[in-house]
């Protein structure tokens, strides 16, 4: 007989973690429907919708035309009328076309109607640079964080992709669920037991005493690479994976920086009015003396040229450079 303890998790591709969450929630709740481009027989651009149309049929898995404003609009209306739709906008760049129904209707409905109408809508979209140029690479999460009533989540692991999708599909909404092109090639352990990751809770991925790195989505992996390399020169890093951008888990960040005294934010989007800017200011309201630096994309569109793409977005070298500068210039 084997003496190994029973397994409590199973390794899945990132896309399979999303598929599992969708499958469970659709089986649990007949109000959950999916709308998107090529999510039916084709199974989605990243194969995260594979098999769902066969199991749940074409009345709950709907292929749409390339018409993002109409797709989000349809989702908002269906949600206000009582369904729990997920609208898949393959590239986050094209969510711009759906911002009017998302911002002006979905996010405001609960306020406008005194809570009589809620919009339990999930918009799933894929951000990030991976060789696809100026209009298929952007990270505009920070724009969405500024909209009252909108929740924004961005997993970096397969387990969180699963648990946050389940949370989003049970939330009164609206929720924007942001994944990243580079995450789809990753794998990770996902609990066998049904697990929900509450929206608004960050995760500490690594602990160290000298500096706190705050990141989300793919940049968590860049932050961990930087932390690993800095460890060899005696610099210990707390790495916080935000998981939720709206609401922000400032308690976890503040607690960490109160101990380390320094914070570097890392994001793939723009620094101006970015995720890091917001976190830095909110942190300063609690910790006046914290040393802070931000790392983000250069102020230029992401090029189709792979060398220019790599030059534009943060890598571990840039994160390490920012941390050395921050610690060096201020340490007595």
């Amino acid at each position: 007989m084997s003496s190994e303890p029973p397994k409590t998790s199973r390794k899945l591709f990132f896309r399979e973690a999303i598929t599992r969450a969708l499958t469970e929630e659709m089986a649990n709740n007949p109000k959950v429907i999916l709308l998107g481009q090529d999510i039916g027989k084709f199974g989605g651009s990243y194969k995260e919708f594979v098999g769902l149309i066969d199991r749940f049929g074409s009345t709950r898995v709907l292929d749409t035309p390339v018409a993002e404003a109409a797709m989000v609009g349809l989702g908002v209306g269906a949600a206000a009328a009582g369904l729990h739709p997920l609208v898949s906008i393959t590239y986050m760049d094209f969510l711009m076309l759906g911002l009017d129904p998302l911002v002006n209707y979905a996010a405001k409905a609960r306020f406008k109607t005194g809570g009589q109408i809620t919009v339990p809508l999930v918009v799933k979209t894929t951000a990030g640079a991976k060789g696809q140029g100026v209009v298929h690479s952007q990270c505009i999460e920070a724009w969405l964080m500024a909209v009252p009533g909108l929740k924004v989540v961005a997993p970096s692991t397969a387990a969180d992709a699963y648990g946050l999708m389940k949370a989003a599909l049970r939330d009164p909404g609206p929720v924007v669920y942001v994944d990243h092109k580079r995450l789809f090639a990753t794998t990770g352990e996902v609990p066998l037991a049904e697990t929900i990751i509450p929206i608004g809770q960050a995760a500490i991925r690594r602990t160290g005493d000298d500096v706190t790195i705050v990141a989300h989505s793919w940049m968590v992996r860049i932050a961990l690479e930087a932390a690993e390399r800095l460890q060899t020169e005696g610099i210990g890093c707390d790495v916080i994976d935000l998981r939720s951008l709206a609401p922000l888990d400032m308690a976890t960040i503040t607690q960490s920086v109160a101990r380390t005294g320094a914070m570097v934010t890392v994001e793939e989007g723009q620094l101006t009015c970015g995720v890091g800017t917001e976190i830095a200011f909110q942190l300063r309201e609690h910790l006046e003396n914290a040393r802070i630096a931000r790392v983000g994309a250069l102020p230029a569109p992401v090029s189709s040229n792979p060398l220019l793409e790599a030059a534009c977005i943060p890598d571990a070298d840039r994160v390490i450079g920012a941390i050395r500068k921050l610690l060096g210039s201020n340490s007595a």
Binding site: F13, F14, R15, Y46, K47, F184, A185, T186, T187
Partner: protein, 101 residues
């Protein structure tokens, strides 16, 4: 001669694969060009075919298990009774190219 069948690479973005299906059990004689095993990556199925005739001797990565690019999936040999290597280190030296598509 003994051959180690390893996870073929490099495939863009792929560090590890999952074994979907073995198309024969130990003892099976594969003809040249015959499908040996199907592997799953994050977005595609990879078919591994025999470059020449050989006998599947031992499956090292069963269906549903994961393996890293370059690591061994199975041992094959020209003759059904050739003695198998005893250590994993010996296997690495026996890795040969298989045809993939």
């Amino acid at each position: 001669m003994i051959y180690a069948l390893t996870v073929p690479g490099a495939i863009e973005d792929v560090n590890e694969v999952r074994v979907l299906e073995w198309h024969g059990q130990p003892g099976h004689l594969f003809a040249a060009g015959e499908l040996v095993v199907e592997l799953e990556t994050h977005k595609a199925l990879v078919e591994v075919r025999a470059g020449h005739a050989g006998v599947l001797r031992q499956i090292l990565t069963p269906e549903g298990d994961w393996q890293a690019v370059g690591s061994a999936l199975a041992i094959l040999s020209d003759e059904p009774s050739e003695p198998l290597p005893e250590s994993a280190g010996d296997l690495a030296a026996m890795a040969v190219e298989f045809e993939i598509n």
